[in-house]
Subunit: 450 residues, 2 copies
């Protein structure tokens, strides 16, 4: 395993190509590095500027007297080889090349990329990129990227061959209550490969689930070995792009990868225990539930205050192979004895507690179902009626979760503005909520032991 400690936990960073020009890549790097200024030292390198924001610029990395753990390069592709050479001479701990214009643009770029690889290999310096966004570790305030926003810390590692995707995912995550342990954009994968990153994040305690956006693999055999080992410890969820002929063509002009045959990938995922998904939405729907909730046996209960939604959820569960347990006569008796349930409550699973259900109804229903031994997890649906106590319902669910920590709960509070506060209460307590019933059913499915 390669030593990536100096890249992912650097004490000193040099930004080569730092810029005062607003909204440029070099400016984005400067803006983001400042966030972690109390935790580490950083240096700007730019021969055309004296200072940026009051901080001195060095002409070249060799002029910095201190040791440099991580050198970040964001200059024109043509001069990258000479910059890399300077970094090697300086014996930096690791390099990230943000710049594009390498193998992904054809022959000319390939030659440049080959030059760089030779240099770093002989100097034994690990390299991320080129043609990437950089890396982010929110928990230690490390943001070596030009991403437009700072993500929240959390338990999801996202390793992506596409940089642009990372930016949008950060913005998305900020309004969806989940956070990251790592965000790694690796672009052309010229030196360090996906397998290296998997091995590194696997050792990280914060990381509970590993998500990957993949175009093409380098070193497939090694990847298989690594993925097989890690997926037994931490779930790996992969979105593979370039599944069709049109997609494959687009891959090649993007990261110069060979997308390969998707059937082969599907077989590979099966053999290595990787969870394959089809969309970005699904990637994080599933990551969220895996990061937040425990796994369970296949016996699920559904509680709903909307009959139609109960019907739909029952359909999705059966289609996905999620087993709906029959309610015990004891459970039904408990519900009846409460004298609070609406007389028309369904007495079945899905348990329909009827549209006018208040939080007290939810509380009794949740307790009764979780007490039934062969119900190992709950899907809770809330439609928004005029009397619905959104926030109280959320708090009751959080309470129940504390009492039965081993039984996963997945929610589907349906609505918009008026349900938002409830969703926030749920998700701040790591109970995932989905805006569509099928997405919630799929999330529950992934928690069930095969």
């Amino acid at each position: 395993m390669k030593n990536l400690e100096k890249i992912f936990n650097p004490k000193t960073i040099a930004i080569i190509g730092a810029s005062p020009k607003k909204n440029s890549v070099g400016w984005g790097l400067v803006k983001n590095i400042l966030e972690g200024k109390d935790s580490r030292k950083f240096f700007y390198v730019n021969p055309f500027e004296k200072e940026i924001g009051g901080i001195k610029c060095f002409s070249k990395i060799g002029d910095i007297s201190q040791e440099i753990d991580l050198a970040v390069i964001a200059v024109r592709a043509k001069i990258v080889p000479q910059i890399v050479e300077q970094c090697c001479r300086k014996k930096v701990g690791g390099i990230i090349i943000i710049s594009s214009g390498f193998a992904e643009i054809g022959k000319e770029g390939e030659i440049l990329q080959d030059k760089i690889i030779k240099l770093v290999k002989s100097a034994k310096i690990p390299l991320i990129g080129p043609n990437c966004l950089g890396i982010i570790r929110p928990s230690i305030k490390l943001n070596v990227s030009f991403a437009p926003a700072f993500p929240k810390p959390g338990n999801i590692a996202f390793i992506s061959q596409s940089g642009a995707l990372i930016d949008s995912i950060i913005d998305k995550s900020l309004s969806e209550n989940y956070g990251f342990s790592f965000l790694i954009s690796y672009g052309n994968e010229a030196d360090l490969t996906l397998s290296d990153f998997l091995l590194f994040v696997n050792k990280d305690r914060q990381t509970k689930v590993i998500t990957v956006y993949l175009e093409g693999l380098k070193g497939g055999r090694n990847f298989m070995k690594v993925a097989k080992k890690i997926s037994k410890i931490k779930p790996i969820v992969v979105l593979k792009a370039g599944r069709t002929e049109m997609g494959k063509k687009a891959v090649f002009t993007h990261t110069a990868s060979l997308a390969g045959n998707y059937q082969i990938y599907q077989a590979l995922f099966k053999q290595t225990g990787i969870i394959g998904v089809e969309t970005i939405e699904e990637l994080f729907d599933i990551a969220k539930v895996l990061a937040w909730q425990p796994k369970c046996k296949n016996g699920i209960g559904i509680i709903t205050n909307g009959g139609g939604c109960g019907v739909l959820m029952a359909d999705y569960c059966q289609e996905l192979g999620v087993n709906l347990v029959k309610l015990d006569s004891k459970t039904i008796q408990k519900l009846k004895d409460s004298k609070i349930m609406h007389p028309a409550f369904s007495r079945n699973n899905p348990l329909d507690i009827v549209g006018d259900a208040l939080s007290k109804d939810y509380q009794i229903a949740i307790e009764a179902l979780l007490k039934q031994k062969n119900i190992y997890g709950l899907l809770i649906i809330q439609t928004l009626q005029i009397m619905t106590e959104v926030e109280k319902n959320a708090k009751i669910i959080v309470e129940a979760k504390r009492k039965w920590p081993e039984k996963p709960i997945v929610c589907c509070f349906l609505g918009g503005e008026m349900t938002k506060k409830g969703v926030e209460i749920l998700e701040k307590n790591k109970i995932p909520n989905y805006p569509d019933l099928k997405r919630a059913a799929k999330a529950m499915k992934v928690l069930i032991y095969e």
Copy 2:
């Protein structure tokens, strides 16, 4: 065709069971009816209250001297037959029964429901319900329901066998920029059926697309005839619940419907030209695009500032049968000549204009592709980079749409908070945006002529 004019455009309404008790159904009806107080007269009926909010309560409907177009009933199931009898005697124009506790709860309720049906049939008064939420027509400020919020006016009619669903959909629509011409909850379908509603909304000019949540059909043969005729004029999108054995069981306790065999429904949809969908999310994803954008031939262009997203979109398009047109040499030349495109722009469809694209790049790319004759529609992707001009990009797309009104545009601005303003600009101008690439591709697919 039945005359539903007095139900859907009433000049006078009586609310039987109006209540001052906050968050009750009778209170919800009162609160909502007040919204339209300048457009029509309304009367409260409740023998136990003298007044509600300063407005007089009548003991029974017979005490009101004026003619009543629409009587809304929200009292205990057991006394509903005698109230219906009073309404028949009063010769009201139509009745909506909100109350539940009829066929959906078993034998006892069935007897009550039969009584009611006999009464209204012999009096020839059309009836919606029982066991429903009511009806809403935002454009004329008619809200005869206990829904917690007032939806925006728009071009989508939603006819739903489930009332609870309608409430959540309203809340959802308020944060997703679409509106409704009709919202009709029809519950147990004891008198008026889905076919009656289809015929009525078909005649409405505002309605451009008809969405349906369906559990079971009454009068299948008539429905086939009606749906076949209407779907040629206005698209009908149906979410059928109770597709599986577990779902069917849940349907029966919900609206006392027989869910039937899903294969038969699929055949029926095909024969009648109905678009069948699987989730609530899909129902409105598709309704929105059909309400807002024109149909086109199968030749689509993709513009993206994120290579990975271009790859994924190409995959979805191929999988769905959306044809990506090859870019003409003339189109590519135009892009090159602009001298604004990033040197690494992809020269292919998907057209990757690279991560640092500004609104000027989008403008040139959109113009060039729309000018190519055999490109009949555009999928536009925006990932969020530090330099991305979200709002400017949205405005440019709105401009382009004005110039080429016959070419549909579907967007996928990926992100959260920071992309929100752009999405609002797009959707206020009826250009649909989707938070996931596959959902955008599916929306484009539905616009393409078979």
